[in-house]
Symmetry: C2
Subunit: 233 residues, 2 copies
DNA sequence: CCACGGCCTTGAGGTAGGTCAAGTCCCGCG
DNA sequence: CGCGGGACTTGACCTACCTCAAGGCCGTGG
């Protein structure tokens, strides 16, 4: 671990309440590593050996079935994956894959669980993190059950945009294929959904999408059920 | 609060680590109430005033959109709803409705948040609870994205069944309409899904369903992605 | 320069599941 | 006993999305 990592570590909500000495004690058994794109620190079905905290970069969590895999959620700096599996010492329900080169904190699972029991500030930080994840997942389930593909895309784009009036440009957290998985559609359908939103002022190519009139889009999408999705960062 | 409530309170994983004196201090500001079927302690969009813990009975959490409402999850004894909203002091993303007469613990939101900060055993219990909820939600998202309606029903039934060989009878946690919402289909489609599973040995009416050969059903459903869903109880 | 392989888009057609509309069963109540 | 209403089922039809297939676009490498 380098001294330069500390500020990034501090930034995670896991350590929201941790004092300086807390932090030092907690991190005693941890190490930090940079890993290239496409490595998979967690494999669905395996037992966790480490809790991983993203210091920089981006990670995708994928649900896998015999037939296919679907992106469930994007994780970025400050996020811990996959805390519930580590906490309950249960097999991963998802596979994590780095979407770009990323710097990760590795925290041995047993040490993490032990510290959770004795360090209240750590447990508190964990509830903060888990609470925001809960809300993101609930939002996603509501979207899947209540909204059409086009509405889901609309809500997703709006969740990415800073809350403001007037034209905005947002950067997608991944290629179209990943976004499609996140929204629960095929890439083809996502493409059609983008086409359907074009008349409503959604344009752009690649990872940049600009929304000419967020208010209009918002009222179309029924308000967008998605919560602060990435606002937690 | 009655003395008779204490054993039910203790049973919640929220208090897994709490000592006797911890518990007494924590509960100082709480009260317990029995409420009839169909009351809604939480309304989507409102700010939380209380954390609710189910002592007995059953509660449904519903996502609401302008058009319709869908059941997201069933909650039962030991579950706390909706902890993330209380923790983050954010508007509820769901409406809670009692599915039958239930006994609930009411915990003033501000007091709960304050105690979370200072009482490590409480925060630890909260991470336990939130961790199991995370896994249930991930399972549900995976099912929605990767499985067909019939496979989702199959997985759901298997998750309800005790892990054993030979014929099992499970009791659905609600009427068909609720189950349909939980699985993300209409009641009509659920009915058709049940019909489709009949040749595979799924029979029964009302809230009782019997599975003649769970193993056969399991291999059909691709293994059923759902985790311990209700196994956390 | 062209060839090649991702990645995205577009088109055409099929299908799972939604919608609308009966119909049946069951239960409470007069 | 008959009636009325809710819950569930079944049928017929429709549509949103998937599947399969054919291009465009663009970066990399010969």
């Amino acid at each position: 671990m380098r001294a330069a990592d500390l500020p990034f570590i501090r930034r995670s909500r896991l350590f929201a309440l941790a004092s300086e000495q807390d932090l030092a004690a907690l991190l005693a058994t941890c190490f930090v590593q940079s890993l290239p794109k496409s490595t998979t620190p967690c494999q669905q079905g395996e037992k966790p050996e480490f809790l991983h905290v993203v210091l920089s970069g981006r990670v995708g969590l994928f649900g896998e079935s015999p037939r296919e895999a679907a992106l469930i959620e994007f994780f970025g700096p400050g996020d811990a994956f996959i805390l519930p599996a580590v906490m309950l010492d249960s097999p991963y329900l998802m596979t994590a894959r780095l979407l770009e080169e990323s710097r990760l904190l590795f925290w041995p699972a047993a040490a993490f669980r032990a510290q959770m029991r004795v360090n209240g500030s750590l447990a508190y930080g964990a509830t903060l993190l888990l609470s925001s994840y809960w809300r993101a997942l609930i939002g996603q389930i509501k979207d899947l059950k209540l909204l059409s593909a086009i509405e889901r895309l609309s809500a997703f784009l709006l969740a990415l945009a800073p809350r403001q009036t007037g034209s905005v440009t947002v950067t997608l957290p991944g290629g179209r294929r990943l976004i499609a998985g996140r929204l629960g559609v095929t890439p083809q359908s996502l493409s059609r959904a983008f086409a359907a939103l074009r008349p409503l002022g959604v344009t752009g190519s690649g990872r940049n999408v600009s929304i000419s009139d967020p208010a209009r889009l918002r009222q179309f999408g029924g308000g967008g059920v998605l919560p602060d999705l990435l606002g937690r960062r």
